[in-house]
């Protein structure tokens, strides 16, 4: 009781203190943000990226890592196009950063009219790579491994429904891979957001999905859905019974980046500041716990390492999109 009352007083104090702090100028020699930092989210409220940003914001604020607040702003429009254009227009701005996904590669490739060159953006830090697994409902007692899955999906032909996020999204790339690798003809039905996709599977409105662990975790823990295989190089600790596709002799590995990127032309001092800040966030207990819980992979990547990673990933996506016929 005493403890909770104290925390309530703390809440009141912090509201007041943060109001005062926001008005103070930065002290010290190294570059520090002098006004609230705009933290653009390339996706809508409530999705996986949005949740991660709100956690990052929470870590920065609760551990007093920065002198100013970080304010999330959602720009989900045009599969990230709106966010990319917004950041591109903020050339030279030291107070705008963005949390990005794989649409960072695919959207500029598919919409060249936007005039986005991701190599001009400022690399800050890759915080994680999210993984993908193949899921079915536990009602399907006949499906316990990929071989069963292939048999069942083949039998149903194009009546087998694979739910996923938008067309040409990550889920679509993986579905295409499965169709090709196993000679299937699954029907891809796009839904808005991974959470909705997970629910369609749990409600038996879809036959399979390729969700991230975080999206299926609730249903998985309740025994409603099960994972058959992982699109990772090695098995995930959370899902020890799900083999990798590599083990099944299909060499396919796919990740979703969870990366912080700065506006193009950000000053080197500012870029350095954000790199240090997000390195600290990366090493915090809260972020590490989140990584474990959501089965996130991929270590910290900064500076030119991150830029090289982007270039490689962009080329991979270009090939994939071309193979799908999404670009010419």
């Amino acid at each position: 009781m005493i403890k909770s009352r104290r925390s309530f007083t703390k809440l009141v104090c912090i509201i007041g203190a943060s109001a005062i702090l926001a008005g103070l100028p930065a002290i010290g020699q190294a570059w520090e943000p002098i006004k609230p930092v705009e933290f653009v989210v390339m996706a809508g409220k409530g999705g996986g990226a949005d949740k991660a940003v709100r956690l990052l914001q929470n870590i920065i604020a609760s551990e007093n890592m920065a002198p100013v607040p970080f304010t999330p702003i959602n720009k989900p429009g045009g599969s990230g196009a709106e966010a990319l254009v917004h950041l591109n227009d903020k050339k030279g701005d030291n107070h705008t950063i963005m949390f990005t996904l794989n649409s960072f590669y695919t959207t500029p490739l598919r919409q060249p009219k936007l005039g986005i060159d991701i190599t001009t953006f400022t690399p800050v830090a890759r915080m994680a790579e999210d993984t993908f697994l193949l899921w079915v409902n536990t009602d399907r007692k006949d499906i316990n491994n990929v071989a069963d899955f292939v048999k069942a999906a083949k039998a149903k032909g194009n009546q087998w429904i694979m739910a996923g996020t938008g067309k040409n999204s990550e889920d679509n790339l993986l579905t295409d891979f499965l169709n090709k690798a196993y000679g299937l003809n699954m029907k891809y039905v796009p839904y808005k957001g991974g959470g909705k996709v997970a629910k369609e599977l749990a409600g038996n409105n879809a036959d399979s999905t390729v969700n991230n662990p975080s999206e299926q975790l609730g249903f998985y823990e309740a025994g409603v859905t099960k994972a058959l295989a992982a699109f990772t190089p090695v098995r995930l600790p959370l899902f020890p019974d799900a083999p990798t596709f590599r083990e099944l002799d299909k060499d396919f590995v796919y990740f979703m980046q969870r990366t912080v990127v700065g506006a193009p032309g950000m000053s080197p001092e500012a870029a350095h500041y954000y790199k240090d800040l997000f390195t600290e966030v990366f090493n915090s207990d809260k972020w590490q716990q989140y990584r474990t819980k959501k089965s996130l992979q991929g270590g910290l990547l900064t500076d030119h390492h991150l830029m090289e990673y982007w270039k490689i990933e962009r080329d991979i996506h270009e090939v994939m999109l071309r193979n799908m016929g999404a670009i010419k």
Partner: protein, 506 residues
């Protein structure tokens, strides 16, 4: 049943801890204010205050945010009624009749009605939530695209079926709303579409609040200016004074709207539990149906008390309802619960079917806090009605610029882009012209809310069925809903035929 009551009692012991009680009262008051500010709905309120909640334990945090959510549902009605600007998207339907009532000098009556209906809606829904959560969660889970589309059809049908208005003008208005709702990004094809004049601002689509504040807030103001012929310093309202006697009389009059209120409560709750629907469609549908079942449908839009009660009961009920898919499925039932879901991640809670078992203290504390928040919000709102009325007595020449600024802030807040502010002004002018030409505006608003839900659902269903429309009739939930929608749709035609038949010259 007994077990549920035991858990609920446990929840109440958590709620009655002084700290939590203080959080509820603070949350309700804050929510009321946030909801009353145009454009600053519960979504923004919860998003802004989320970072503060890590200072209290998760149960306290969610109680605080839920109280804000609830308070905002009450508060949304305030500016809808007083200024004609929807305070939040959920309160758009409240402007339809709340505003005319205020103009007739009965703002206090409308506000009382909104408060009481909200209370009834909140109470009914939270009781339903307490006792029927698991079976309803199952319904929400199996509710797929065909069901969603059938439900959307039902919503449209209730609006087209609204007798009185010119049916072609209603359809035209719906079409405008649908076209606007299609702007932006098409998730099915994965392509941007209708990016008018290649303006990047259209990439995020046309925000529903931009349209609603434009046509109701700005359009309304132009209208009032014209009506008053720029009447210097004239008060916008007639003699609305608040006395105890008048308040009691208001409450008594409300009894006649009980049908609309109860209907709104149940409808709002059920629409609320369906993933992605939320309180806005719920309140709009409740308005449509209230008009259908009313004894005086011709009064709707001109100041019918039922037209305030139904959507207000529904939006509160829906806000409770949308907690259900959030907690049990991890799917937000509304934009606000999407943020709450983000909060749960920060607090280290995993929403899903196991949450009720693994974190029963959290869940039941939340449910119990809804009972308390509901009670405090209605008390706070009733107490402040005289203050609101005082504000209304400000001369129009002073009030008008304030409303205009509030509109601009409201248009800017959701997306923080100037593009939307300009768009809103354009909608205000267009809305004014449409009103001049006697086009109903409510159907356009309905369409822009429901369009983005109906369209993907339709296309997903047809993808699944290979283009067979039978999918909407052969499924256990979709079938009856679709049939009801079609009957409602053709009701006006049948009515006209029947009337012609009856009044045939002998």
């Amino acid at each position: 049943m007994l077990e549920t009551l035991g858990l609920l009692a446990n929840g109440f012991t958590i709620v009655f801890e002084p700290q939590n009680l203080a959080l509820i009262i603070a949350g309700c008051a804050l929510g009321l204010f946030i909801g009353a500010m145009p454009g600053l709905g519960s979504v923004n309120g919860v998003a802004i205050l989320l970072p503060l909640t890590f200072l209290v334990p998760p149960t306290g945090a969610v109680i605080f945010l839920a109280a804000i959510y609830y308070g905002a549902m009450y508060g949304g009605a305030i500016s809808s009624i007083m200024l004609g600007i929807p305070g939040a998207s959920t309160a758009v339907a409240t402007t339809f009749d709340g505003r005319p009532l205020a103009k007739l000098g009965m703002a206090d009556k409308a506000l009382t009605a909104a408060a009481v209906a909200s209370f009834v809606g909140g109470s009914i829904s939270v009781v339903l939530f307490t006792f029927f959560a698991p079976p309803l969660a199952h319904v929400a889970l199996v509710f797929g695209s065909p069901e969603t589309f059938a439900l959307m059809m039902l919503a449209f049908a209730t609006f087209i079926g609204l007798g009185g208005d010119d049916i072609f003008k209603t359809l035209f208005s719906i079409c405008i709303g649908l076209v606007l709702s299609a702007v932006g990004f098409d998730i099915i094809s994965g392509e941007p579409r209708l990016i008018l004049w290649d303006i990047t601002g259209f990439l995020h689509g046309v925000n529903f609040l931009v349209l609603a504040i434009g046509i109701y807030g700005i359009g309304e103001m132009i209208w009032t200016v014209e009506e008053h012929n720029l009447g210097g310093g004239k008060s916008m309202l007639s003699e609305a004074t608040v006395t105890v006697k008048r308040t009691i009389a208001n409450l008594r009059e409300l009894l006649s709207s009980w049908r609309a209120t109860v209907m709104g409560s149940f409808l709002g709750y059920f629409v609320g539990i369906l993933p992605a629907a939320g309180a806005t469609p719920g309140s709009l549908m409740a308005y449509g149906i209230a008009k259908q079942i009313s004894k005086n449908p011709e009064e709707f839009g001109k100041g019918a008390l039922e037209g305030v009660c139904a959507p207000e009961a529904a939006n509160n009920a829906a806000s409770t309802g949308s907690m259900l898919p959030m907690l049990t499925l991890g799917i937000p039932g509304s934009p606000t619960t999407a943020i709450l879901l983000g909060g749960m991640v920060i607090w280290g809670l995993e929403p899903g079917p196991r949450l009720f078992i693994d974190h029963s203290e959290f869940v039941w504390g939340l449910i119990a806090s809804l009972y308390a928040a509901n009670l405090f919000a209605v008390i706070i709102m009733l107490i402040f009605i005289p203050v609101f009325i005082k504000i209304l007595k400000t001369p129009f020449t002073i009030l008008a610029p304030i409303i205009f600024i509030l509109c601009l802030i409201g248009g800017y807040a959701p997306t923080q882009s100037m593009h939307d502010v300009w768009l809103m002004v354009v909608f205000g002018i267009v809305g004014y012209l449409m009103r001049k030409l006697d086009y109903p505006l409510a159907p356009a608003v309905l369409a822009i809310v429901l369009g983005p839900l109906a369209e993907p659902a339709l296309r997903q269903s047809l993808l699944i069925s290979d283009g067979e429309f039978s999918i909407f009739f052969t499924r256990i939930y979709a079938g009856p809903i679709m049939v009801t929608a079609i009957i409602l749709l053709f009701l006006p035609v049948l009515k006209i035929g029947y009337d012609k038949f009856r009044h045939r010259p002998a």
